[in-house]
């Protein structure tokens, strides 16, 4: 038997669920979206891919986290101490009640009671903090007396005959944990919906509607804290994707019918909740409810707020002094040479190498690049730079095409966890230097792309189709960039239209799983919605995957329209333009005619202009 003996090789790759509170507060960068969610008085549904920051935001809405953030952030202090923003975080991946709630013979009662038992525990942990916050500037509130009073009141309304008196919230929490054990045991040994059996086993909690106990608890806590009875409490519900359809429907019904004091902020993966109806109106959809806002949590990699957020994360994890700006620090670590500059340098270096055809190719591309002016330069130079770097990398043992801060930002694709993965890959490759060599960066970015591609086939039972789809998209666009004659280059592209409704079930599932894991990105719905496309929408390959195909797309146009019920191989249209989908996919549709959000396009344009100096950024 052998054991690991060198803990130093372990690099932290923190998951939002697992980061300890103190570290979380250090890593967290409050964004505009965070403040909006904290202040908003409506229910919200956050949709985002894995690692997009849903969990972090919900955790940071909880009182215990906000209290710590208040120590270092003036706005947080104001929201907590002046506006009394209190919150509870509750991940719904409660294995026992989610799993057993769908076993035949049980019913919604198991799910309702199970979630309530856990929600009460989460609420009790936060209410202690809330009382302390209020007591800090209200001399009439004594913490111990308030806790005792609240405990007594809660016991009266929640339980049927608690045998030994409970005097503190901590003791009440312990009692709830015992109740959870009893209820869980009852699930296996008898009918958990039978009240008599449960009472006999020692289960004392009165049944209530989903979140009914927490609603009562919040109202009582408000009274004890001398706030309005309906003063709002945020309930952050995470991981809705683990729920069954029936459970989601039940939750949707409760959320739509619940008003103050509970405000629900829920988070789930794309395509796991959007079409859920409610039990009181079969055709009503959650997304249509005016009191229920849906937000897509995906940053543009060129967004300055996102760059600062990720740079701060990077500095924190690499233990670097932020100095005047986190982004400047990260630029120093990664380097920030322009894509075109690097291509020129690489071309010069290649003069020393062999390979007449390659050399001719490079020389031709370099000459064309220098000959471009104005708008043409902005559009075509990146494509030529990619070609040069691709060709030169073949002659180098340590290719340096994928490197630089902007490239790192691009491959993170607006998803902070993809950037953290990249850091982890880098840490495996290098030994603690403050500057990461371009060769190491290239290796790490390529390794990450390869890893994402490889794991795609195993992510779900139909993974082979997902991997095949990605490969065809990647190869199709790569050939578009690398094989088009110089005089035919228009601009780089990585976008295509897919009508999910026209796909078969397994194909649609492949796209949806691809989205959840940031392998494919559904950019916009052609109906103009900023949510994930449901029918026809504009899609692209995830930037983190692109390096596998030697492609770092910049902005691009829509290359084709998928119209059939089957994914087809690349084909050429009459003009010889490479298209991904054929043979009916010859219509090339510019983005700005497809009715998407003009503000988004304007932002993309701004990004493109600013990237004239650095062709890698959007």
């Amino acid at each position: 038997m052998t054991h690991s003996s060198d803990p130093s090789i372990v690099i932290d790759l923190p998951s939002a669920k697992n980061v300890p509170v103190d570290d979380l507060v250090k890593l967290f960068v409050p964004t505009r979206r965070y403040w909006r969610l904290l202040r908003s008085r409506t229910h919200h549904l956050l949709l985002g891919t894995r690692g997009s920051g849903k969990t972090i935001i919900l955790r940071m809405l909880a009182t215990s986290h906000l209290r710590r953030l208040a120590d270092r952030h003036e706005d947080a202090r104001r929201e907590l101490f002046e506006h009394r923003r209190f919150g509870v975080y509750l991940p719904l991946s409660i294995d026992w009640c989610v799993a057993l709630g769908e076993v035949s013979g049980y019913n919604d009662r198991v799910f309702t009671d199970g979630v309530n038992i856990v929600a009460i525990q989460a609420f009790l942990e936060e209410v202690e903090g809330a009382i302390r916050v209020v007591a800090s500037d209200n001399a009439s509130i004594d913490v111990s007396a308030s806790e005792r009073q609240l405990t007594r009141q809660l016991c009266d309304v929640w339980f049927e005959g608690v045998r030994s008196p409970v005097h503190s919230l901590a003791a009440l929490r312990r009692l709830m944990r015992r109740q959870e054990s009893i209820f869980k045991s009852a699930l296996l040994s008898g009918n958990p919906c039978d009240s008599a059996t449960l009472r006999e086993a020692g289960f004392l909690l009165y049944s209530s509607s989903l979140f009914g106990h927490v609603q009562q608890g919040a109202q009582m806590a408000n009274e004890v804290m001398e706030l309005e009875r309906d003063h709002s409490w945020i309930v952050g519900l995470d991981e809705l994707e683990v729920l069954t359809d029936t459970q989601q429907k039940l939750l949707a019904t409760v959320v739509r019918g619940t008003h103050r004091p509970l405000l629900f902020k829920m988070a789930t993966l794309p395509y796991s909740f959007t079409d859920m109806g409610t039990s009181f109106a079969a055709r009503a959809r959650v997304a249509e409810n005016r009191e229920f806002r849906t937000e897509r949590l995906q940053y543009d990699p060129g967004d300055s707020e996102y760059r600062e957020l990720v740079a701060t994360l990077g500095c924190s994890i690499l233990r670097l002094d932020v100095g005047t700006s986190a982004e400047r620090t990260m630029e120093r670590v990664f380097g920030n040479k322009r894509f075109v500059e690097r291509a020129e340098e690489a071309a010069k270096r290649y003069e020393l190498g062999d390979g007449a055809a390659e050399k001719a190719n490079i020389t031709g591309a370099l000459r064309a690049m220098h000959g471009l002016k104005g708008d043409s330069r902005r559009k075509v130079a990146p494509v030529l730079a990619i070609r040069i770097l691709r060709a030169t990398s073949r002659g180098h043992r340590r290719p340096q095409a994928y490197c630089g801060w902007d490239t790192a930002m691009r491959v993170s694709d607006g998803n902070p966890s993809l950037f953290l993965r990249l850091l982890w890959e880098l840490d495996r490759l290098r030994a603690g230097s403050e500057c990461i060599s371009p060769g190491d960066q290239h290796a790490a970015i390529s390794a990450q792309a390869e890893h994402l591609f490889t794991s795609a086939r195993a992510l779900y039972p139909g993974g082979t189709l997902l991997q095949d789809t990605i490969d065809r998209i990647g190869r199709g666009f790569a050939s578009g960039i690398h094989d088009i004659p110089l005089d035919r280059i228009d601009e780089e592209g990585n976008r295509f239209v897919v009508d999910l409704d026209a796909l078969s079930g397994v194909e649609r599932e492949a796209f949806q799983w691809g989205v959840r894991h940031s392998l494919l990105v559904g950019e916009t719905s052609t109906s103009g919605s900023s949510e994930y496309p449901v029918g026809k929408g504009v899609w692209r390959l995830g930037y983190a995957l692109c390096p596998k195909y030697w492609l770092l797309p910049r902005r691009g146009r829509v290359r084709g329209v998928f119209q059939g019920g089957q994914l087809l191989v690349a084909a050429s249209d009459e003009a010889g333009q490479q298209l991904l989908w054929g043979p009916d996919s010859s219509s090339e549709v510019p983005l700005d005619t497809r009715g998407h959000d003009p503000a988004q396009e304007a932002q993309r344009e701004r990004g493109a202009r600013s990237s004239d100096n650095d062709a890698e950024a959007i």
Binding site: V10, K17, W96, A99, A122, R177, K184, A458, G463
Partner: protein, 339 residues
Amino acid sequence: MGSTSNSRLSVRRVEWCDLESRAVDLIVAAAGYELRGPHVCEELARRQDGHRVLGSKLYLAQFKDRRNEDYRGEVDRRFAEFEPRWLHETDGTDGHDLVRRVTDIVRAGHRGSASATVLIDYSCMTRMMYLPLLRLLRSGITLLFAYSVGYHPPGGEHRYPVSTVGRIGSVPGLEGLALPRRRRLYVFGLGYDDVGNAALVERLEADEFVCYWASPGYAGYWNVPDPGDHVESINHAIIERARYWFAAAWDDVPTVFRELSKISNEVAGSRKVVIVPVGPKPHILAAGLAAEPHGHVAVLAPHLGGGGIRGEVPRVEAAGPVALQEVCTGARLSSGCVA
């Protein structure tokens, strides 16, 4: 390595000679499509009182699917010779139901069920069936677990494609408490498919984990090179990220149980431990045993879809060896020849 115990459970490895003179009150087995299914019962009947007597205390869970397969017909015919007293059709996921039925039978047959001994042949059971049965330990019942190693015919490797991670369920009775604010420490029992294992890590978003695997594996009983013997090199990238790892022989339940219990106890106040076993069944059993006494430990059962059998069912017969474990509460291990 022969036996180990924690404050609640004692686990030890036993041999056939222990069972020859041992009264077993109930035998729970499963009839699937693997020919090794009846092997343990047949061996026990040969060593003890014959088919009829054994059949009078045999509870047989019959899988509903593949009833028309040739192999399945042979398995059913061999089990029919025992004339099992209790038959129960199962889809392999109703462990909670199985626990209730078995508990009722034990209670009905034993006025003082504390002295009962139940033998569970889990060779052909899903983990959703045999792990919930650990709950019987809470009634003071002694459990004997028997696992008959399968012989895989040569040339069948192509039937085992890369795993794909399907639904990740939790094992009834071993879900642990919710503990929503606690950090999760994952413990992966690695199989020999690195892509599938990596996808599992990915799906669970496990950032802090421990690994264990079987070494040596089944190699001695297979007619093909056993990938289980190279799990470490196959899963190199995953192991490199692990906080801690260990390996134990495929049938060394006491060691795996002890290691997992140690890990669980060390983090009892700060983490929720989530064990995700993929490796050999005796290691999965050890995971269940380690989780059973603790509220902060859970066992997940990922459905590795594509890792199953592609196309024709291979003829998995009994290779011969049977791994036997005795589990009871406290330190009430019976005397006998301890391995």
